[in-house]
Structure formats: structure tokens, C-alpha cells
């Protein structure tokens, strides 16, 4: 153990450095991201009406000058706090030299207030102010972002929290954590790099050395079997995220790792963390080493509490968790990108300037045969083989749940309905480099890189709605859509056709209850977002959890129940920004 004197001195130095950097940071962090939390009374309560000014300006991002889009001078934009039952009035002024927009992600509102240029309105021209106005009929954690071009990548986004009518947040204090990915490159240059040079940002590919190591450890025959499958398909088992930490600086509330966003707590308090993945292209695995998290809400909608040690959050998803820190010590808020190419951390502590141990990045995972939809018979736990270094899976070994318990838990989970999925005989054309021959439900799998975790990782199968939803009719109609892609050409689409190639919208009949079946015929994870209506996930639980964005693993099939109760045209798309830009976008018409 440390000597008392040394410890005292170290703490002094640390806190001195910490305070200095915390002061320096105050200039770059959005005002709402002050660490005191809600109970300190520092909350930026949104005025009514709210005025938002969209600008492009220089800003210090992780110690370097970038040129993001700011909202009221901040990137991310201000925390907008509304109350269930109020009428929201938001004036958005465009001070850019191009069109802009704001989409209120996950909010149920009239078609013309949804903020998608070309679908719900014409967009906001430079110099114009658009007046958004709608009744707030829900509560929870949401966010807002531009739906114009690639502006999201420039930081045109922010958190949106709606207090419940009774004002009870179920905790003594709360903090909002919005994760994002920033690049100093021009987003259009990023898109072009992806388009003309496959794997441009992937510096974690398999090498000759990996193959030789595999031959040594598992023999030539098995290695050949594995590698030949991937190579024959011309795909990479390490194709995990298109844009990686090689260009991204991951941010937590606008701050990078060095500037360490800090959330404060008092010992004994129950704290609600509202975690939003506001990134353009990054799935994150979020955990707080040494602290378990009780998930109470998914995509803003309440779920029955489920206690986990880690969860994966897809782009545009939100989770609320309750944590109760023990004692008087700092904890690291750790968000690791799915491909382990980077992370962002913050700190949960009792005073500014503290920090806890930051875990190391885990080994780069590899997709297994399940990703190709080829291993129907494999048991639930080893669907995807994990990182090369199987011993070093985890940075912390004090997690309570053992592998055995985890297996038992997994087998107790109800499973999603069995869906017979059929592909068109000719596949989906050149826009689809593969079709999942045997798509399966993967709702009870934690996802690539987390299969062998010995601690509790949230899976969609764990989510149970807090209460039944108003429409309990059985679906009368199935609509099936396939997620398709061609990584080599960077083509992304539904059913093999980009948005610019389809000849009409997806038709929902107003008032009907329908089942949307989606099949992921690609090797990537995709967060699929439906505007204007909730999707109830058929994960075998009752009540079903309700989502605005659903992440599909490779070769996965999911089914969702939807009440087509929102007349008009709505966007439906992959929330990976460059996939949407490439054409993985449809319009749903409810009439």
C-alpha cells in the first residue's frame, strides 16, 4: 500500500492538475455539462420558447482547434429540458451558409415538426428561423441532431431530456452523458475515402502474423477452413466499424480523455445517468469498473430494472441507468468503441480533479461464422469467436457473475418468435455482397467482442417494458425488409436498392397494427431508426420493450410490432451516418 505522506502529496498534485485542467476545460465544455449534476441547481432549464442558433465556428476540441457546427456556441449543443404535457416551442435560426435542420430523435410529434428535409419539411435556409412547435406526450432521455447532409459529423447534435409529469426521476441526482465521435477531416472527404478505398480507416486488419499464429495454435487445417471461408467471400472478420479511432477523437459531453469530463456525487446518493450515443458511426461498450448499473430505461422508455456491469449502445440509442457509488472514491466512466480502436472516459467522483484507473482497451475482436448466418446449430454462447488473446478479455476481475451463472441466465431468457425468412431467388443484386442464408435471432447475444465476458452484459432479451403499451392488438400484416450492403463499393441499402433507386415509399396503412421483420444481410451491425412511431421489440418478453432505434447484428433477424398511428411521411434509415448517406434510407408513408 502507499505511504500516507506520498499519498497525500500525490493527491494534492493530482487535484492541483485536475483543477487547473478543469478550469481550462470550462471554456470548451458545454455549459450544461458542468459536473455538479441536477441537485446542485445548475441545470439549464430550457426557457419556453427556446432559441437555438446554428453556427460554424472554431472551437477547442481535445486541445486542438476544430471547426464544428455549434448550437448556441456549444458542441454538443445545449441540454434541452422539457416537461411531459407541455407545448414545446423551439426557434431554430440557421447562421450557416447551407441549409440545416433539427430532428427531435425519438419524439412523437406531427409529421411537419420531425425535421427531415425532403420528408417532413423543406429544411431551414441560411438566415432563416424555423419555428418548431409540438405537444410533449412522453418523458425520458432523447437527443436532437441535424438531418441535413453530413452535419451530424460536425457535432450538430445535443441532448434532450423530458421530465415526467410528476417530476420524479427516481434518483437523488442525475447526469447526462452524450457520446460522440469527432474528426478533424472534412466529413465529405471521409465519405469519399470510404467509397474509393475499402478499409481506409481500418488499421486492425488481420496480417500474415495472425495467420501464422493461428496455424501454430490450432493447426493448418482449421486455420485454412476459417480463413478460406472469409477470403472466398472477400470479406474481413475484422470489419467491425467503418470509421475508427484512427481518425476519430471520441468525446464525452464534448470532452476528450485528457480533459476528462467529471460528474460529481455525494456518498450514498442514487444517481441516474442518462447515456446517449450521439456519434455518427461508433458503437460503444459502456461500463463503470467497480460499479454495477441498473438499467431503468431504453430509448427513453421505462423498462423493468435489470442490473448489468456493461452494455453496448448503438448509434442513436439511449439508456438510463441508476448507480449507487460505494464510499467516497472516483470511478471511471468508460466507453470503448466496439472495434477497440479507441475509447473515451470520464470520471464519477466526489470532487473535481480526481480520477480512477482507466482500463486498457480489450483485444480486437473478430467476427465468427455466426456473422455469415452459417452456424444455425451452434449453441448460444460461442456464436462469435472472440479476441485473439482470450485470457485478457477484461480489465477488471471483480465482477460478481461467473460464466456458469451467465449461461444459466441466458438459457432462462425467453426467445424471440421463430420467423421463416425467405430471400428472393436472385439475391439482392450487386448492392448486396452477401445474404444471410440462415438468419437467426441474436437478441440474447451480447455482440461481437463481448461473447466471453464473465461479467453481466446487457442483451436485448433482458429488456422488459415497465408496463403494457396502449395498443395490444395482434399484428395483421408482416412487412419484411433486408439490410443489404457491399463494403467493397460502399453501397448500403434496403433490399439491395439505395434510396435513389427505389420507386416509392414503404406503405403503412393508417391505424393498422403491423409486424416489421428485418433481416441483416450484411457483415456489419446497423442501428435502424424509425421516425414518428415506436417499435415494440418482439424479444419474447411481456410487456415488450419499446424502441426508436434497433441495432441488428450480422445475419440477425428481428421482428417489431408497430402501431401505424402517425399519418404522414417518415424517415426510416440506418443511423450510421455514412450508411444513410450512401442510400440506406427509406420513406415510410402512413396513409
Amino acid at each position: 500500500m502507499e505511504k500516507p505522506i506520498a499519498e497525500g502529496r500525490r493527491r494534492f498534485i493530482k487535484s492541483a492538475i485536475g483543477t487547473a485542467s478543469a478550469l481550462a476545460l470550462a471554456k470548451i465544455a458545454p455549459a450544461w455539462a458542468y459536473p455538479m449534476g441536477r441537485s446542485y441547481g445548475e441545470v439549464i432549464k430550457a426557457d419556453n420558447p427556446v432559441d437555438l442558433h446554428i453556427r460554424r465556428e472554431n472551437l477547442n476540441i481535445g486541445g486542438k482547434i476544430g471547426r464544428p457546427i455549434t448550437i448556441n456556441g456549444n458542441m454538443p449543443g445545449p441540454l434541452i429540458r422539457l416537461k411531459e404535457g407541455q407545448r414545446a416551442r423551439l426557434n431554430v435560426t440557421n447562421a450557416l451558409d447551407e441549409d440545416t435542420s433539427i430532428h427531435w430523435h425519438g419524439i412523437i410529434l406531427p409529421e411537419n415538426m420531425d425535421g427531415v428535409p425532403g420528408v417532413s419539411f423543406p429544411g431551414i435556409k441560411p438566415g432563416e428561423t424555423f419555428h418548431y412547435e409540438y405537444d410533449v406526450q412522453q418523458s425520458g432521455t432523447y437527443w436532437y441532431h441535424s438531418h441535413s447532409g453530413l452535419q451530424e459529423q460536425l457535432g450538430h447534435l445535443g441532448p434532450l431530456v423530458i421530465d415526467p409529469g410528476d417530476g420524479d426521476i427516481g434518483a437523488d441526482r442525475e447526469h447526462v452523458i452524450i457520446l460522440s465521435d469527432w474528426t478533424f477531416e472534412d466529413p465529405y472527404e471521409v465519405f469519399r475515402n470510404l467509397t474509393v478505398a475499402e478499409g481506409y480507416y481500418n488499421y486492425q486488419q488481420r496480417t500474415l502474423g495472425d495467420t501464422l499464429a493461428d496455424i501454430r495454435s490450432q493447426g493448418l487445417a482449421k486455420t485454412w477452413e476459417e480463413r478460406s471461408m472469409w477470403n472466398r467471400m472477400r470479406m474481413s472478420a475484422r470489419d467491425l466499424l467503418d470509421v475508427t479511432g484512427s481518425t476519430y477523437t471520441y468525446l464525452m459531453n464534448g470532452r476528450d480523455n485528457a480533459t476528462n469530463w467529471t460528474a460529481l456525487y455525494k456518498p450514498g446518493e442514487k444517481i441516474r445517468l442518462r447515456i446517449i450515443n450521439g456519434s455518427a458511426m461508433s458503437f460503444f461498450d459502456f461500463r463503470i469498473p467497480g460499479l454495477e448499473m441498473t438499467v431503468v430505461s431504453a430509448d427513453g422508455q421505462p423498462v423493468k430494472p435489470v442490473t448489468v456491469d456493461e452494455f453496448r449502445i448503438g448509434v442513436a440509442e439511449t439508456y438510463d441507468v441508476i448507480v449507487t457509488p460505494k464510499g467516497d472514491r472516483p470511478y471511471t466512466l468508460f466507453a470503448e468503441s466496439l472495434d477497440r480502436s479507441g475509447y473515451v472516459r470520464g470520471t464519477l467522483s466526489t470532487e473535481l480533479g480526481q480520477e480512477a484507473i482507466v482500463p486498457e482497451l480489450r483485444p480486437v475482436p473478430e467476427r465468427g461464422m455466426a456473422a455469415m448466418g452459417m452456424s444455425h446449430e451452434m449453441s448460444g454462447m460461442d456464436m462469435e469467436s472472440s479476441g485473439r488473446d482470450k485470457s485478457g478479455m477484461d480489465g477488471h476481475h471483480d465482477m460478481p457473475e461467473g460464466q456458469g451463472a451467465k449461461m444459466a441466465m441466458a438459457s432462462q431468457r425467453p426467445s424471440a418468435p421463430d420467423l421463416g425468412v425467405e430471400h428472393a431467388p436472385g439475391g439482392h443484386g450487386p448492392g448486396a455482397a452477401m445474404i444471410a442464408r440462415q438468419p437467426v435471432s441474436r437478441l440474447n447475444e451480447p455482440g461481437v467482442g463481448l461473447e466471453e465476458a464473465t461479467h453481466r452484459v446487457l442483451v436485448y432479451g433482458d429488456l422488459i417494458g415497465a408496463h403494457p403499451w396502449p395498443d395490444e392488438r395482434e399484428p395483421v400484416r408482416d412487412i419484411e425488409l433486408h439490410l443489404t450492403g457491399n463494403m467493397e463499393k460502399y453501397m448500403w441499402s434496403f433490399d439491395g436498392l439505395k434510396f435513389t433507386e427505389v420507386d416509392g415509399p414503404v406503405e403503412f396503412h393508417y391505424g393498422e397494427r403491423l409486424r416489421l421483420i428485418m433481416v441483416n444481410d450484411t457483415m456489419m451491425d446497423h442501428p435502424i431508426h424509425l421516425h414518428g412511431m415506436w417499435m415494440e421489440l418482439e424479444n419474447g418478453q411481456y410487456p415488450r420493450p419499446r424502441k426508436h432505434t434497433i441495432s441488428l447484428k450480422p445475419s440477425e433477424v428481428v421482428s417489431l410490432q408497430i402501431s401505424a398511428d402517425a399519418p404522414g411521411s417518415w424517415a426510416f434509415h440506418c443511423h450510421l451516418l455514412y450508411h444513410m448517406k450512401a442510400g440506406m434510407f427509406r420513406v415510410v408513408n402512413v396513409s
Binding site: 477470403n231 450487386p430 427505389v502 434510407f585
Partner: protein, 249 residues
């Protein structure tokens, strides 16, 4: 180079071909616009020293512009022998229309020319059809069939394979084969296999766009072509070392 890249990136932003209105109002913009881009790639731009102590400058490049299904290509290969006082020799210069017909394959058709780039030189003009793309096991391929004005048919096959040594370095074997289906006396291509060329190069990416390399190659004339070379007192096989750069913008 960077300027060009930015110009191309911006052209991505600006391109718009309204095909489908997914919305109620016609004057609204499309929510997702179609896009086109392009690339200029010098796969090989190298200085060669042959075993006959000859020095050559060799290029092998392509440029394309378009969307993801339809593109226009320009491809060119050639060499210039230093000290011979002659202008460079075009192995091919082709302008092609390209259509993606399968996830990894484009079918291409167009016009090409071969011969000395000297003005007034007699060149061989031809029609060309190519199957361009990636074969299973990730072999990059460009297979072409050419028909000249006299009806002579020739086939050319090129295949490259990247062995990744590290995240930035590669070992790349390369194979090129030429054959003629008909006797083309005028152009010195007897029917049958004419030549084979194998190369191996090691390249290191300074960036994704710029990768210098060193390598060796072995080439050999085959069949009747080999006899002809021998009859003319030439050497039917050649070995060389190359130093060059692979780059794109």
C-alpha cells in the same frame, strides 16, 4: 494532390440526380441525394533496371468517375526506355464505360490504342471488353479481350494479391499473361500464349494514398513469340528490379 482530393470530395457533396421524390412537396430537396466521385490511381509508377542493364520507366494507372453502378474508366499502361532516344511506348490507353454486374465485378467496354506516343506514329486501335473486379480469395483482376481493326483478337489477364505483413506493409505477387486468338503478324502477336510476367513487390504505406515499393519481376516470351524473339537475337526471358510508388488521389 490534396486540392484535387478536396475538389473530388466537394463534387460528392454537390452532385444530385433527382430520381425519386419520397415526399409530398415537389420543391423540397431530396432527403438523400445520389452521388458520384472519382479516383486516379497509379498502381505502378516505377523505374526498372533489367538484367540487360536497360533502364525503363513504367506506368500502370487508371482513373474513374461515376456512381457505384455506372462509371467511366481511363486505363493506361506503358514504358519509356531511357537513352534510346525514342518516345514512350503505349502498351494500352483505353476509355471504357463500366457497369457493376455482380457485387465484386464490373463489366467494361470501350476503345483503346497501342503503340508509340510519337505524333504521326502508326498505332493499333482496338475495341476492348474487360471483366474487372475481385475474384474469390481477394484476387484483384483485370481480364480484357481486345479486337483490333484487322479483327485480331487478343486476351490479357492481370491478377494481383495483397499479403498483409502489417497494418501498413504488404507483399504483393502479380501475374500478367497475354495470348492471341488469331495471328496478328503486323503487331508481332502470333496465335497462342505470347508472354507471361510475374512480379513480387514489397510496399509500405506512408499514407493510404502514397506507398513506395521495391520489387522484382521475371518475364518470358512463350510459344511462337519466343521463337521469334530468339530468331531476332533477343533474349526470351528477362529479370528486373523495380523501385516505384503506388499512389492515388
Amino acid at each position: 494532390m490534396r486540392t484535387l482530393k478536396i475538389v473530388m470530395s466537394l463534387s460528392l457533396a454537390g452532385m444530385s440526380v433527382p430520381l425519386f421524390a419520397g415526399h409530398a412537396e415537389d420543391h423540397w430537396p431530396e432527403p438523400i441525394k445520389s452521388y458520384r466521385t472519382g479516383q486516379v490511381l497509379f498502381d505502378r509508377l516505377e523505374v526498372t533496371r533489367t538484367d540487360n542493364d536497360e533502364d525503363l520507366i513504367v506506368w500502370d494507372m487508371l482513373a474513374w468517375y461515376g456512381g457505384d453502378r455506372n462509371r467511366i474508366y481511363f486505363k493506361s499502361e506503358g514504358e519509356n526506355r531511357s537513352d534510346d532516344g525514342e518516345p514512350a511506348e503505349l502498351e494500352s490507353a483505353e476509355l471504357l464505360a463500366s457497369r457493376l454486374i455482380a457485387p465484386f465485378w464490373e463489366i467494361q467496354g470501350g476503345l483503346g490504342t497501342r503503340g508509340s506516343i510519337a505524333s504521326g506514329a502508326e498505332r493499333e486501335n482496338y475495341l476492348v471488353f474487360s471483366l474487372f473486379g475481385m475474384a474469390p480469395y481477394r484476387f484483384e483482376m483485370d481480364n480484357s479481350l481486345t479486337v483490333n481493326e484487322d479483327g485480331d483478337i487478343a486476351v490479357n489477364i492481370e491478377a494481383e494479391y495483397d499479403i498483409r505483413l502489417s497494418q501498413l506493409s504488404y507483399l504483393q505477387p502479380r501475374l500478367e499473361m497475354g495470348a492471341a486468338l488469331t495471328d496478328a503478324e503486323e503487331y508481332d502477336r502470333p496465335s497462342g500464349f505470347n508472354n507471361v510476367r510475374m512480379g513480387l513487390r514489397y510496399r509500405y504505406e506512408l499514407s493510404r494514398e502514397l506507398a513506395p515499393y521495391i520489387g522484382v519481376y521475371w518475364s518470358r516470351a512463350l510459344g511462337d513469340k519466343a521463337d521469334r524473339v530468339r530468331d531476332q537475337g533477343g533474349d526470351e526471358s528477362e529479370i528486373g528490379v523495380v523501385v516505384g510508388v503506388r499512389m492515388w488521389f
